[in-house]
Symmetry: C2
Subunit: 697 residues, 2 copies
């Protein structure tokens, strides 16, 4: 799709400069230096020749067609350059020039114009305000970054141009090859998802590494990232995650949701590996690009030093994986081949004087062992150590059946080993902890890749009824939906709501209580009062006519005094629910990623402990169950402290119904079912209270 | 005190070898190569000369006294070598030889013998089974590690010899100097605390870095580490922290405590900076060794690239520190000196084409600003960047009034800057996150250093009474102390216990209830039943004679049936406590560090959420308050959800009384006060139930 951007046969550099140090010079120089084999046409009105190439005063005068235009002229002249590119048949352009959205409103307007122009001419646009693109496959350095990486299998997409130069400098130093490096700048046209799609099909690319500050379209992102992640891993560092979200929320769910949680939910859903730092980004990427995925999380450690072996074992346990000793037969056989003082437990300690052969023998045993899913090889440079020789012995043993990573601790002494490893696609790390973290990211990705197909259940519901309630609500000009209508809506989606009436007089309330002959709850109904209990608007367990009448009168009296302006519709009288475990189910619509469902145990668990989980809607049954499992208080639901387990599947069902409701009705901005009361397995949970907030307009 | 080990004037190498590659050769060679200026006496019965030095068949024949003996002979010959050293007047020896405690019981016996011998002759012993010692101050490399570091201000103590070699290799590569490097091996005599004390007084040492697998004496460790930390920072990587603790616990507190929690509590108490990985260890140490401590946690960021600036800001917020923009006057003045497109917020963005001068100007402003406590300078190598020049401009501006650290991202291009920084004692990191983590460790240490003096309150208590109960208990041969005696003990330490009697008949129970005329709780009393409620042995809120009699009879009947062998002493009848917030107070004695106090909210908060905090006893009032604050559920105690706050100081008092009790009575192994019922401010909390476990024998 982006053929002209990635693999152009001809490139025009508009703004090519003869002055070294200028960006327009650097780009041309880089194209030449890297060895681009297509046609290069420099354009500059004041030069006849640049860097040995004939230069044209304008693209028109070159009288040739081009595939890719690189524009390095001042922002005001970009549009004219684009027009020339269009006339020359360009299918893609890179606008390096800055001075657009990133500076001011005028720049933003200019950016809209150039993007609109490109769209109308079906020209794909990278940038503006970017560093350019590097493709090692066709030796194209179409950027103003001087360093050309060697070919490799990691492709980098970065929203920060400066980070691209740091990555190039770092990878050159590290000897790490790259496939493509793409600076996306202001993303006026080509954005991360376009490139995900492109790189998913790129044979050179095994892992996509991405630094993002913003996401262009949340829906598109989740869809594309999920598809691409099925083919190859996508590792993302999302910066700017802690910035205080300015969104005012009217529900519990809304107040607990935030941009960072939404990104987390989106990444989890789409299989994206989230990285929490610059080094971790490439630590994960190297492992994923170079080694097969593990089948499980059982790790064997081979080391010539006790200390670092223990450090690795600590890290493995801390990250929730398993330190795996070899199976008995294999460890016995290995012991025969190692000195008596060696340990064949886990860590496998080949001793301080280990030669390459000892490492090779131990690695062979670990690779033979089907109960070992990944191997970490550790070396510290001791008197008898031969780091490079050991690395060579290790890479000869690799079979590609399970991941092997190395942590060779030190500096100069282990440097030669690093080169051997990299040349054989074996990732090497400078500390045991980083090696283990890289294995962890492989494990998590493997679990995601092997997850069962997602099947979202559609429940038969009464959608029409909800539509009627919604339009009634909208006619009334109210965004808040309180308990009465909220429960009507939920009933239509087959939620269990206890018998109740909206009583407009004390007599009506009494009549209802007498009819059902059971204790009732009474709650004030007013569109102006969302937090009923704050105003004395809730009374529970009323079991006689007298008590109901007293409660009604008192409520009216007090609310009338405390909120004289509130519109009082009456009192909702409802059969009391038998006691059970109170949970909260909710939804908050993220501006980027749409509806996020929330689950948590009620009361203090949500308000104080903030022990909740969020998933993007629509969810499957498995995901709904994961929502429960991913809270710390899950043990309580399963029946800790001698209590019976509650019906977990009934909660999961309810979450799926909410998922369907908020997918069907995008005007629902936020909602809480709080509390949702659940009981023993086989029973039906009850919606005890509910509220929703509709979108404006 | 370890003068002869650290700065000997004369050294004998017993086991000096002529064969390159042998440890006995390497040590002599390293001593010579590093330029040790004292006398060196090689001892080897089969050589006349080694490496140009006259060699003696035995130390006796050298007919000279020595200060330090280095022993490299096989384990069986070590004792003889020690005797020779003693005769030659050695005040310290290093036993490099292996084959001791680390191999088998026989080796352990040999180790005890050599340690005993050294003790009897007042010779300090380093090792056995160690790499040796390096002191850059007197150019002494008394180890078999070939690399001699350059002088610096970080001293390293390591329980892993292999890690020492890795550290030497890494620091040489990094250009980082060291003060001492000491491999402590099996710690038969000299252990971490001896060295802490020694290095605390060492002028060359500014930071002590320590890799530990075990601690020789917990009490001594806490005492010494606290004293040393008041003088200089101690950064420790404790490995082997996740190993499942095998201790069977009979209390809640005991089951939640563990070795890792105990180390955490000991480190927190003694001001030790805990590091969670090999790289983090030196990241922290470099910052602490090279820069002044920050006065607070307000960090200014100066960067030439937006992306890494955002990454740093994320890290600062995630670690609970503050991203601090400059004060208005300073930022306005700075804006005048920077290009219009630069940002003077935080991050201060000096733009991609920033020259050294721009960095210098921005740094000056940040150093001027008294509301900025630390500065992080970030650079990515862009076309116009001058990393080394920038580093030079930065170091010229340093004033030593607040810490400045750098993160120059990349590889070869930024390498020259790293050297400039190191030479000027400015720590430099390869990612923004690592730089921020290093600042965080400085902030935490600064807070600890500035904490108020620890004052442990001694409450007037009836210690004699507890002694009597304890000896009664011991005579009875019982380790478990149940509710009745437990409350007696706590009453003696001025805890509030409600009126109650141990009723041996239903009549006695009824009589008590009628006397107090209030609802009572009844609980079975049997030394064989610790979990009373599991056996129907608890009834609450009994307010009439009938109910008390029914409860008594039922309890006896049921317990008799379900635990026919249990010794039933009767039923404890106690006035009901008015409802309040239930918390749990407890103590578990760690084998290393002694009594650890625990605090948590009762019920699910402890059992399911494991939301508890541990501190080493004895504690101060401030520490007791911190124990409350360090639980996630603290907000509930302070009065979340419209409830009144409970009396926090009353809980803190109770924790201090437990602290005093378990310090006074070391035979108390574990205890729980569960629940401890607390009410509004000004009220006295109540011990609702309590149990203790005494040590064996």
């Amino acid at each position: 799709m982006l053929q002209a951007l990635m693999r152009p046969k001809s490139i025009a550099v508009i703004g090519a400069s003869r002055t070294p140090g200028k960006v327009g010079h650097a780009i041309l120089e880089n194209l030449l230096k890297a060895g681009f084999e297509g046609t290069i046409i420099p354009v500059n009105p004041t030069a006849d020749e640049v860097l040995g190439l004939r230069c044209f005063p304008s693209l028109a005068e070159a009288e040739t067609s081009i595939e890719l235009g690189i524009i390095v002229v001042p922002n005001k002249s970009v549009m004219e350059a684009l027009e020339h590119c269009a006339r020359a048949g360009a299918q893609a352009v890179i606008v390096i020039s800055a001075g657009f959205k990133e500076v001011n409103a005028e720049g933003a307007e200019l950016e809209r114009k150039i993007a609109g122009f490109c769209r109308s001419r079906r020209i794909r646009l990278l940038g503006p305000n970017c560093l350019g693109i590097i493709n090692t496959e066709n030796k194209m350095n179409a950027s103003f970054a001087a360093q050309m990486p060697k070919p490799g299998h990691i492709s980098v997409i970065s929203q920060s141009g400066a980070l691209c130069t740091a990555i190039l400098d770092w990878s050159a130093f590290r000897g790490l090859g790259l496939a493509k490096l793409i600076s996306i700048g202001n993303k006026a046209d080509i954005c991360e998802t376009d490139l995900f799609t492109e790189l998913a099909e790129d044979e050179q690319t095994r892992v996509i590494v991405c630094y993002l500050e913003s996401i262009t379209s949340g829906d598109e992102f989740v869809k594309v990232a999920e598809q691409v992640s099925m083919k190859k891993p996508v590792v993302i560092l999302k910066a700017g995650t802690t910035a205080a979200g300015g969104k005012a929320a009217s529900s519990h769910t809304g107040s607990l949701a935030g941009a960072d949680i939404a990104y987390g939910a989106a990444f989890r859903r789409s299989g994206v590996i989230r990285s929490d730092g610059f080094e971790a980004l490439f630590d994960s990427a190297m492992a994923l690009a170079m080694q097969p995925l593990p089948k499980g999380d059982r790790i064997a450690i081979i080391t010539n030093a006790g200390g670092p072996g223990i450090m690795a074992a600590d890290a493995i346990e801390n990250m929730g994986m398993q330190v795996k000793p070899l199976e008995h037969a294999l460890s016995t056989a290995l012991a025969m081949k190692l000195p008596a003082a060696a340990s064949v437990g886990n860590p496998i300690d080949v001793l301080g004087d280990a030669d390459p052969e000892r490492y090779a023998v131990a690695l062979d045993a670990a690779l033979d062992d089907e109960t070992v899913d990944a191997v970490l090889v550790i070396l510290t440079p001791q008197a008898m150590s031969n780091p490079a020789g050991t690395a060579n012995a290790i890479i000869k043993k690799l079979r590609g059946n399970k991941p092997v990573v190395a942590a060779f601790l030190g500096g100069r002494d282990v440097m030669p080993a690093r080169e051997v490893f990299l040349s054989a696609n074996l990732p090497e790390y400078s500390s045991p902890e980083r090696a283990v973290a890289a294995i962890k990211s492989m494990c998590e990705y493997a679990v995601w890749r092997n997850r069962p197909p997602r099947v979202v259940t559609r429940f038969p519901v009464n959608r029409r009824r909800v539509e009627r309630i919604m339009s009634r609500q909208r006619r009334g000009g109210r965004r808040e939906i309180g308990e009465v209508e909220g429960k009507e809506i939920l009933k239509a989606y087959d939620f269990n709501v206890l018998p109740g009436v909206l009583a407009r007089t004390a007599d009506e309330a009494v009549a209802f209580q007498e009819k059902i002959g059971a204790p009732v709850a009474m709650k004030i109904v007013s569109p102006d009062i969302m937090h009923k209990s704050d105003f004395g608007g809730v009374k529970l367990g009323l079991s006689s006519a007298d008590k109901v009448r007293d409660a009604y009168d008192l409520m009216m009296l007090r609310i009338g005094r405390r909120c004289p302006d509130a519109e009082l519709r009456g009192v909702y009288v409802e059969q009391m629910c038998r006691p059970g475990r109170e949970v909260i189910l909710g939804m908050s619509r993220d501006p980027q990623f749409g509806p996020m469902l929330m689950f948590g145990l009620g009361g203090v668990f949500v308000e104080v402990m903030k022990d909740v989980s969020f998933y993007l809607a629509p969810i499957t049954h498995e995901e709904a169950m994961e929502m429960l499992e991913n809270t710390r208080s899950y043990a309580l639901l399963k029946g800790a402290r001698g209590e019976a387990a509650v019906d977990l599947h009934a909660i999961a069902d309810a979450l799926q119904r909410i998922s369907q409701l908020v997918t069907d009705f995008p005007q629902i901005e936020e909602m809480d079912i709080n509390p949702f009361i659940v009981h023993e397995v086989g029973s039906e949970p009850v919606v005890a209270d509910a509220r929703m907030m509709l979108s404006e307009g």
